[in-house]
Symmetry: D3
Subunit: 285 residues, 6 copies
């Protein structure tokens, strides 16, 4: 899981299962001894897409029963076609049936994000421009969704309010000026934190550059202004474009020379990729 300690993953999975299973899976418990069989099952794509979260989905099953075996066929970040087998499972039927929905919900949502991200990345990759995510993620699922963005070829913006400063129009208004806001913040935050400043126009870009900020985020600026900002800033700060970015305009923005384009669209307009868990018919053997 790309270096995620397993105990962090398990904290999430326990919560997710608790939500679905509550005091017990009535149906699975209800069929009694029949559910104690060992079965084989495949997770199969029903749409094309980019894989994300395979290890998490698999962990849902092994969390329920350490004896479940799983083989991830399509690795995170890889492209898959309809009807492709993504993961093979074998083990106790109870664990597989109880975990099915939670595992699929996670895998479908994350692969949806990876797929949407990959679409955007493909539009600008040759220009050397990166697609970054935002904090517009589903409450409670951010770490997973940001991971899915990376699976789709995107990069991550700050993880939360705690690991990077982002000075926006509202902060500037409260402080009275962009310069003042930056200086106030700099006097208090860890020196190890970057400062990003959201600029609405070229004159703010100039002001921010003078304060030697780390990243300048051009917020909803026109193409001409973006180009000018890039010219001014290049080499002195990372230039990030943001605001209403979608497949229709991402390449145009990229062509202005920005370093990074951040996009809420890749998370909040990602639909789930259709998948299903198919149990091998035991009688067919």
């Amino acid at each position: 899981m790309e270096g995620w300690p397993i105990w962090i993953v398990d904290q999430y999975i326990e919560k997710f299962l608790q939500e679905d299973v509550g005091v017990g899976d009535l149906t699975t418990q209800g069929i009694g001894k029949f559910v104690e069989q060992t079965i084989r099952a495949d997770i199969v794509a029903k749409q094309e897409g980019v894989m994300a979260g395979g290890q998490f989905a698999l962990r849902v099953f092994t969390f329920l029963d350490r004896e479940v075996k799983g083989e991830i066929v399509v690795q995170d970040g890889a492209f898959f076609r309809p009807r492709e087998v993504l993961m093979r499972l074998s083990g106790n039927a109870a664990a597989i049936l109880t975990g099915e929905r939670t595992a699929l919900n996670l895998l479908q949502r994350l692969s949806g994000i990876a797929t949407r991200t990959r679409e955007m990345v493909n539009l600008v990759e040759d220009l050397g421009v990166k697609i970054a995510d935002t904090r517009k993620t589903t409450p409670g699922l951010r770490a997973f969704e940001k991971y899915a963005v990376r699976c789709g070829g995107g990069i991550n913006h700050r993880l939360g309010l705690y690991d990077c400063v982002l000075i926006k129009d509202n902060h500037i208004m409260l402080c009275g000026s962009l310069q003042k806001a930056i200086r106030e913040v700099r006097s208090r935050i860890p020196f190890t934190a970057k400062i990003v400043v959201e600029c609405a126009n070229v004159s703010q870009v100039r002001e921010a550059l003078e304060e030697r900020v780390d990243v300048i985020m051009l917020d909803n600026m026109g193409l001409e202004d973006i180009k000018q900002a890039v010219r001014m800033a290049k080499g002195r700060a990372i230039i990030e474009a943001s605001g209403n970015v979608g497949p229709h305009n991402v390449r145009l923005i990229a062509e202005q020379g920005v370093d990074i384009i951040s996009s809420g669209y890749i998370t909040h307009h990602a639909s789930w990729i259709d998948m299903s868990l198919e149990i091998e018919d035991q009688n067919g053997l």
Copy 2:
């Protein structure tokens, strides 16, 4: 919050804020005394849609600071237009700025679901057919997403694996027959729990009716088969149609006379409704 005890809501909100705020909002803390101002702010729609989660969004702010005042202008379930003010806030700038993203993420996601649900409901409402949700919800957010479905005019299917039995093809295969599966389950579950059986064809419908199940879920059946199933079952069980339901086919299915159509589409294909939090310019006073 429609009867939700506040302590349950607060458990969620604390988790959501923890994810975003971590050990502190660097930017807000960074501007020091300037953030101690009292400000006024509006949450404004940037797209049309159906409101859902107003009380939850408001609670994010009052959770951060009990002194924040909020007025919900558009009630949950109501339709709104672009540029309409959905909620008015006033209070400590720190609480409003720190809570902004979490509140919006929640409100935008939930309103997205309510809006998608309302679209589906509108297509069949005159036929007396209900649209129900599924368990295809974002991990960790089910209670909220099911609430949003109700805001959009839909009804709820079971909440999890614990409050209703749903016998699917896999359970039937494990037990050997539909009849056997039903009888096994009935001998073990609380007598207060309904039994839903997923049927793939008319002969399974007949078998299920003989076992007097509460709900028959027609899974991906053709229109002719649906009509026949309805004829057989009407009055003896609730008839639910399910499987690949979307705006393109929901009315056709509804016209066959089913009671309920359940749809994962209203949750997993809901995009966020665009909204923003706009702070009143203090200087403009």
Copy 3:
């Protein structure tokens, strides 16, 4: 554990142990190296009864030390006599001594409930009437106590306020009429939830039947009224009798033809079954 995922069981056991062990078992820690011996121990009945919770009791020990081995001699639901060995343990003395009280408290309480339930079930079983539990369970222990009821041959009523509707006199009074209460509720709850209505007299039974509720609970009604209600309702709803049921009157009620009799007595008047953990004298070998 009858389909209970182990992680749910462990959440409870951790809490129970935490209550007893706190920051450490002073006595066990106090005897130092002597407690590192491997010992064998039996859990022995000192009274007759019906077994319930064997797997949970065993898990207390293996939770403390994965190396403890246990063999459950008397299975849940089985009858045992005084001096019968219920479970055999072997392993680290520290784990066995530290877990002893928690394991026994759980096993004695649950077996007490199973025993009391079995007494009631025996009185009516030949009539085809089921004994169900209520929500009158020890706070924090409901899932276990409801499991014990099943071990004693009883069935479960709803698990909590969340998985079934039960309309009582107070709800009816607030709404103005039984009919109104039912209709209000039906418009809001998941369609997968059953509706139980508590009726105090025959005329309420008639009203409830007209609204096609799932279960009619006859609350403290006289035998004649019960008989009449059964006649009216049979086949149209499940008939449950409730209120001050005990060994003295359960058969009389059952003879009126009800389907189910629910009883708080089996939980709140269950005494613990006496048991002890006996360590084999090592010197005796």
Copy 4:
């Protein structure tokens, strides 16, 4: 609540409510606006007994809604008669109906223990002998149940394994001798912890006295042996009798001159005291 910080009480009450309410009280939420009425309700005894847990029961309601008002009519420790009003409540119907069962379950269980304890205390009080509880309490509820024992006039034995040493036969066997067990323990535990030693005969009592232990627990000893042990030990250690104590023999044991008699009977053989919550008929006004 006799000095219990409110946050500790709330941790328990949140857990208890969570168990019963889960994701919501379907019935209460189902009747919609009707549940928003302000009502008055009484908790009424249906049996005589000794009150315990009034403040905890009341807190269940105020935890659900801070606006609920409650007046405790019968204080903890006081005797009440059938039909006596124990507590008066007024407030939001939703909070009162949702909290009803949890509050009553707690109050009935605790009053059951207080009542059973009082019965035992009455049998020996004039002899100056105290009745103490044991660790035979319901898992998860010990602090409450020990409080109920005090309400019934009893005293508390150790709270758990962490606050007092109790050397039993098994510890002695592991160490080889009583003397060795005591000395091992004494070298490791906080000097602020008392040492209790369970003795099975007079010669062990002598050995324990030589080691200057704080309490000697006479385990299942005959009356003559108890008398002899008391003579030997009086003034040098607290003498506690234990083992199969009940109403039938408690006075006989007390008459031998012991200081304290500890009894599992007062907790594990306590039945609930019957009570109900009665809502005032609004129409009757």
Copy 5:
């Protein structure tokens, strides 16, 4: 509390109190009604020092009882002398006595760190060099201890492993070269995270500068090497010196022109500042 949302503070305080209070403060509860008096108390310094954590200490008392009133006399960051009153409290004796130790432990530890930090800051402040903390903080208390460093005039290094990259000798060894380590990391981390590289010699400094890292941490380098590194890097990266820094050498290092000196000494060699809580003698009035 400098922008810390109160709910974060309360999570910590609940844990701290739980550790000390457990199931209850025996002494406070033991004196019964006497503890219900309203008292006044002062927290008084018994040594000179720099204040840190006043709001946290006060919150311990108001967490226990919302009615306790407190006035912070010496603000965080201010210097105080022996016998100076730091905080005045009035309210319920139970809350003040139960909270005393937890509040003092926190305040004494944090003021100890602030005092030690201030000593170091004073030695180099005129040179424009900042003193930063490290991750050498007491497990579980980092956020508080880093706050205390700021109270003492220091600045914060990264908060944890999650908000900044720090490439050390071990990472370099694993990757094969400093350049490779930096490039690997840069391809995976959020672009909003700074990269700090620990350099052991001047040639590593050169390599790191070529990779345009944000901060160069000179690890245990000699004064001459530090001077040379500063000359090379100045203006291209922040220069931080680290390793065995103490009052004996901090100024020497500072004189070489580094921007920041990070010091574990200010946290792990901070002794508590002696303080006590003094209750006003009521009889003296």
Copy 6:
């Protein structure tokens, strides 16, 4: 870990790691496949001292990855010299690098306490006087710090407010007299809890002895008064001296004949013992 159930240890370690690792160790994750190597590493002392917490430090690594192997070279309680290897580790580099700081922070702090305690113990051991700790421990870390005191040869005073009564001047003032305070408390607390009384002068000692308390704590009394108190009390209660004890006066106090000297100094004036984790150079093989 001297009888500590592993699950208690793991609760702490999870919290400590969570604080440091948060959503992930950016650097370790950032170097990608390179971190998947198996490495060997030693924890090495850089100062002399007394070991404490070896098992806890090791558990940090095995908590992160069950496959990490560790050998504790210097046992808890043993003395070590500079450059001595304290522990050898081998396993996944990711687990070792991510756990390094948390493990060291714990080990250095605890060994610091054990070392300081040993210094004090050495000064009085030959007189048969014990050194005990106090409740002046770091919030959240008490159980560990009290364990470290035992490693240094000290003994433990009460663990918290819940396991022993300590009547102080403030309690006496509230009750009106020392006698009254003792009697009030005795009527309410578990009979298994000891009563310690803090005495400021000889006359209070006399009063406390008359009430037959278990421990008399002489608070900041002069040497002459201590001697007199000892004479009066010896054999009737444990005599503990307390208040501003340090290396300068501990022997003088001990010489007066007290049983125990309790000292906050050993915890709040303990500095960390310097240690480092050194990874074996793989290339050097």
